[in-house]
Structure formats: C-alpha cells, structure tokens
Amino acid sequence: MSLKNFLVGVRDGVNSGEFRVIVDRIKKAGETKTKKMKLDQWLTPKTVEGYVEEDFTYLTKEQRLKLTSNVDNFRKIAASVRIDSPATPEKVAEAREPLREIYQMVQPYLDRQYLGVRGAIEQLFAAGAFPDFVRRFDLEVGNDHTGDPAVWIWLIVDDSADNSSVFDAILQAEQTIADRLSELGIDRLVYGSVRTVSEQKERLDGIFE
C-alpha cells in the first residue's frame, strides 16, 4: 500500500494548517527531547514515503519526471531540517512549493473514492479474480463524458495472451468490479480496456502518437 501512504501523506501535509512549524521542547531527565507537534509533521521525508514513479501512469513521461523531481526536492529539504530545533521560515517556504506542486499533480488520485476503489480491485486481484495473463492494472476514477461517476481500468496483460481470452477478461473484469463496488455502496460505471506489457512500456516511455 505504498501508494496509499504517499497519497495520504501528501494530502495530510498540504492540509496541515498553514504549513507552520511548532516545536515543543520537553526537558526530561537531563536531556532535551524535541517533540514535533501536529502542525509540523508535514515537513519530514515521511510525507512522501511510498512514492513510486510507476504508480502514476496517467501522467505523461515529462509530468512523471517533474513529479519525481518535486518529490526528490521535497525529501532533500525535509531531510535538512534538524529535528531538535524548529524549521526556519525559509525552509518552510522552500518545502511548501514542491509539496503544493506534488499535490496538484496527483489530484486525480485524491478523488475521495479512489483509494476505496483501488483497494477493492487489489483485493479481487489478490483473490485470483482475474486470469493469470493479467499482470497488473491501471486505474482512473472520475466522471465520464456525460457526468456519470466512473472507473476506468486498464488490464495490463502478457504480450502472448490471445485476443479472445483478453476480451473475455475485460468483460469479466467489468462485471466483477462493478458487482464488488456495488456491494461496497460505490455506484460507478466500470469501463474496461487493455494494454499489453509492451504497449504499456511504450506508453510510459511516451511513444504514443
């Protein structure tokens, strides 16, 4: 669930008050301990923990590189903040920018139902609900062209999988996912598509034209 950790970290980080830093020093048994209070918890590498560039396949290659650059930048700044003293206003301002950019770039993943939908599909995947030639999946959550709540799922399948079996897998996945989401009280149309592993690699490399 590294993606979940990352998304929750970014969301909570951005929503943590006014990005202020409060440090509460506790004197105890002759040593100085520093306890970070809620409002400064965002200024730590933990906020972007779990980031994996490949999770953000809906972004173009250039956008993914920019996202990674922002994450690296944020980590670097956060790591330079001493835990035994408050972050300087300069550090806070410096860290704020990449975190805000990260937040804006991952907006589609922050749909309030995204993590629930993703979790449900991951459970189906782990339970063997999809054929073996389905290696993994890509997911988007949003509204379709008429405004209906929707889920788009791309099954990433072996290059050797035959077209007929792949088509059956799409239909089956659409129904299975729709049923499961319905059980969870999530009413969304499910649109299934497919890419082979090679096609997905080409897409991630930005070779669609």
Binding site: N163, V166, F167, L189, Y191, S193, F208
Partner: protein, 167 residues
C-alpha cells in the same frame, strides 16, 4: 449508412499499417465501431416505427446520444420501471439484451475518448482498439439473435422515449 460497413471500416482501420499503428487510425476505428452500433439500433427502431422509408432518416435524427446511453444503462443494470417489467417480463432474464446495452454504453464512452480526449495517456493501443471493435462485433451478433424478441422491441423504444416513460 450501412452499420455493417462501419464495423468493417473499424476493423480495417485497426489493422492498417505495419509496426506501431497510428493513433489517428486507432481512434477513427473505435469511433466507427461506436457509430456502427449507434446506426444499427437507430435504423432498426426507425424501421419499426414506420413503413415509409422517406420518414425513417428523420426519425433516426431524433435520437440523442446521451439519452440513449441513459436508457442503455437502465437495461444494462436491469433497473427498469415497474410498468415495463410487467409488460415484458422476459426483459429481466435477457442477458443478451443486457450485453447489447452494456456494449453501447462502453462504446459511447470509448468513442468520446477517441474523438475528444487527446491526452496521450488516454491514447489507444492496437489491443485496446481490437477489444472495442470486438465488443461491437459481439453486440451485432447478439442483436441479430434477439432482434425479434418482445424485449428487444421495448429496448428500441426506450432508446427514443427513455425519460418520458413515467409521465
């Protein structure tokens, strides 16, 4: 406009060229696959509504894509109004009709993606386009099998009158 020809056009476009296919070909293929099923259903409904061939194109123009999608969603999920269920009880057990309705909803969304969503991450691959065309092909074959059933007739009317049943 022959729906079958549109479907064949989709199949031709998806197979065009060697190596990596062009997005333009794949997107046009998916769009054609949708319009194949769109014209299949609207022409069938028009034929049933009048024997006057000159009026049929006018009726066909009365169909609304969004309304047809809403009607198909209702049939796909078997969430029909009670008054319709009682008229044609077999409608509830028709998985074939459900398949056609689902195909229409899915193809319309794919057609919108193909024609308007130019983000590179929403591009089509050959396998993706093949699957959509196969979806349309299966819907054609299924429709041919059920087109004379009462439930199919009601379905066609719903494509035009959905939203006004309850008045």
């Amino acid at each position: 406009m022959n729906p079958q020809h549109l479907l064949e056009q989709a199949e031709r476009l998806a197979k065009t060229g060697k190596g990596r296919p062009r997005q333009t070909d794949l997107r046009r293929a998916v769009s054609s696959a949708y319009y194949a099923i769109f014209h299949l259903l609207t022409q069938e409904c028009s034929r049933r509504l009048t024997i006057q061939a000159s009026i049929r194109p006018i009726i066909a123009r009365a169909f609304d894509h969004g309304q047809m999608k809403q009607a198909c969603s209702v049939f796909a999920n078997k969430q029909l109004p009670e008054n319709l269920k009682s008229i044609v009880p077999s409608i509830l057990s028709s998985s074939d009709l459900q398949l056609v309705a689902k195909a229409f909803v899915k193809l319309q969304e794919s057609r919108h993606r193909a024609d308007y969503d130019t983000r590179s991450n929403r591009g089509f691959t050959r396998h993706d386009a093949d699957a959509e065309i196969r979806r349309a092909r299966v819907a054609f074959e299924t429709w041919e099998r059920i087109r004379n059933e009462d439930a199919a007739g009601l379905f066609l009317l719903a494509l035009l009158f959905h939203g006004r049943w309850g008045r």
